[in-house]
Structures are given as C-alpha cells and as structure tokens.
Symmetry: C2
Subunit: 209 residues, 2 copies
DNA sequence: GTCTATACATCGATAGAC
DNA sequence: GTCTATCGATGTATAGAC
C-alpha cells in the first residue's frame, strides 16, 4: 500500500521536474515513464491522463500557497509587515516547490486554454486577492503611497518575486532569506540612495560572487 | 517582388502572433499556414523550418532592442536618467513588438535547449550588460544604494518591466508612458509613503489600528 | 510560388495478457 | 500493478505537378 503511494508520488515529482525543465508539451508521457522506470501504459493505472498529473501537481501547490498566506493574514500585522511576510512566504514556497512554481509561471497561458484546470483559476484569484488586500490596506492607512495604482504595484512585485525562480538558486551563497530582505527593501524604499542628511544604517552583508 | 516580401512578412507576423498566444510547440505549421491563407507545404518555400521562422522574429526583435539601448547609452546622462530611459525604451519596444516580446519571455527555456538559436544568446548578453553597466555606474557614483547587489536589482526590474507584457494593455486607459513613470518611481523610491518628518523603520511595531 | 499528396516520426491513450 | 502491443490522430517536412 505504501509502495503504491510511493510510485504515485514518484510519478508526480518526476513529471513536475521534467515539465518545469522542458515545458508541458515538450514533455511526453513516454519520457516521464522512462524516468520513473516503468512503461508508458502503466502511468494510466495511476492517472487518467497526462494533464491530470500536472493538475494534481498544481492543485497541491496552490493549496500550499493559500494555506501559508492565510497564516500571514491571521497575524494581523500592519501592512508593511504583512507585505514582507507575503514575500518571505512566497519565496519559501518557491524554494520548497521549485518545479511547481516554474510550471505555474511558465505555462499560465497554456493552462488558461485547457479545460479541466478550472479549480486552478479560483485559487489564483484567492492568491491575488490576498496581495491586493494587504496593499490596499497600506494605501488606506497612509503607510503606502497612493499615486501608484495598487494593482500595478501588485503585478510588479508579483512578477519580481515569483519569476525569481528563473535565476535564484536557494542553495547558493545568496540565500532565500537575503533575497526576501532585498526584495522587501527595494519595493518599499527604492534603489535610489537615501538622502545624506538622514542617518542610514548600512547592514553587513555576506560575501557574494 | 514586393508581393513576395509581403507574403514572407505575413508569415512572420502571423506566426509571431500565434506563437505568442498559444506557445511555440502548440502552434503547428498547418495552423500558421491556414491563418496566412496558404497550404502548409508552401511555408517551406520561404523558410527552411518552423524554428527558422521564430528565429527570424526573435533576431529582429533583439536587434531592435540593442539599437534603442545604444541610443540611451549615447546620451551620457546620469545613471538614474539612463535607468528611466531603459525602462521607457523597453516598454515602448514591448508595445511595438508585443508578440516577439511575449515569445522571448515565455519560451526562454525552450530556446536554450534548441540548437540554431545561438545568435540569440549573444544578443541577450549585450542587453543584460547594458542594464548592469548603468546600474553599476549609479552604485559607483553614489546615486544608487550599495547594500543590494546590482545583479539582483537588475533581475528584479527586468522581470517587472518585461513581464508587464502579460498584463499591461498599451491601448487601455493606463498608458505605456504612465507605466514607465510608475515603474521608475517605484524601483527608485519605493512604495512606502514618504516620511513626514523622521524616517521610520519598517520593523517598528505599532498597536492595532 | 503555390498546390496536391504523402512520407515518416511521434504523440496520448487503450486493450488485454500476465 | 505492470507489461506488450498497438490504434488513431497529429506533428514536421518533402517531392513533384502545375
């Protein structure tokens, strides 16, 4: 029984890795089966179709995001703190599930056209609403500026955060925590050097390549 | 003779639109031919392969970017001005060539694995170096902060700018010029509201509102 | 320069033996 | 639960008539 589940999980993780690396349509069921170590027909004992495999990978992924975002909102911190926590949570999930993150970011347009991925749409709406709620709360209480539309800020920070999966290596010298700090600092305070009359604390950094 | 070129151009633009919308592997040569109004075999009189069509679309696209970036560098403005000009130039190119922009952003991983797209790699390196040169000049002269790595800032603003192709509609009420202004303001000065008297740390905990 | 016709490979998915 | 064998559809690309 445990072995059955293991085989199922192995199919899921193997498919996720290959689809993330080569793309959904470029990954064949035969290639997945070969990597798992079975014949292609055997996959259909565990899943009804190729799309069903990817659907389960993404559904689990989006559920994990929603669960962690719910914890952020439950903390009831002020908007700037919540925003930082959303960045941290997102980057941690991207580190834990890099393949699912890459698939979701790369195949978004393909998923929209495919039937059977409707459960994904509502999850995506929830996730967007979490970000927008925090951002708009900050605009409302005066901690965020109101001359840049909230939805524009959301889309800019969203792409910057999630697409970091394309270049960031969590196991390298530039840690996920460091990236989260820099993203938060950048999007809240900007890249322009602070004015000289204001005292600035320069934090020490780890060595970088 | 002019008609020949027109037919070739029609194939290029039609293929670009379809590949941008449905993805490279999801777009078949038969579908491109149908949209153009010819039979699939006829495409091979103008191009040696399907990949060659996409390669020409992307090569022209990257050449256009390099040409416009060269003008920005030639102005010899200060780093902050140059950075803004790079943002404006990039968004204008994305508006002029939305299909090529989408293809380049969406199919990057696929292009890396395919042979015959080597000319694209060097162009990409040039473009990256243009951004990094401007950013590092700003760090060197003190106008940009030095506690966030230049390459991190580059990748964050790059993704935010180019991936706006996924959501921004240049013909809508939120213009390309407006987006360029907001992106520049956000990445230089941040989304936090300007402090009224004394700068406040983000980490300052305040009671529930 | 376009069309007709088709070669040839590979795709997702299925049926039935074991 | 896996394998063997294969179906039917679809993919890129080609050959030769017009």
């Amino acid at each position: 029984m445990a072995e059955v589940q293991d085989r199922r999980e192995l199919i899921l993780s193997t498919a996720a890795e290959m689809v993330a690396r080569k793309g959904l349509r470029a990954t064949t069921v035969r290639a997945i089966a070969d990597a798992v170590g079975v014949f292609s027909g055997s996959l259909y004992h565990h899943f009804p179709s190729k799309d069903a495999i990817v659907d389960e990978v993404l559904t689990r992924y989006l559920d994990a995001i929603r669960a962690r975002y719910a914890l952020v909102l439950a903390s009831h911190k002020e908007p700037a703190e919540c925003l930082r926590d959303l960045v941290v949570s997102s980057l941690e999930i991207a580190e834990e599930q890099p393949h699912a993150t890459a698939i979701y970011q790369n195949e978004a347009q393909y998923l929209r056209e495919m039937p059977g991925f409707h459960g994904i749409q509502s999850a995506a709406a929830d996730i967007q609403q979490t970000w927008l709620g925090v951002i708009e709360a900050g605009v409302a209480d005066g901690s965020f500026r109101d001359d840049i539309p909230s939805w524009v800020f959301y889309r800019l920070i969203r792409d910057a955060v999630w697409l970091s999966i394309r270049w960031h290596r969590p196991d390298g010298p530039y840690s996920t925590r460091q990236l989260a700090d820099d993203v938060t600092a950048l999007f809240l305070h900007g890249f322009a050097a602070p004015a000289r009359h204001a005292p600035v604390s320069v934090r020490t950094r780890v060595g970088l390549a």
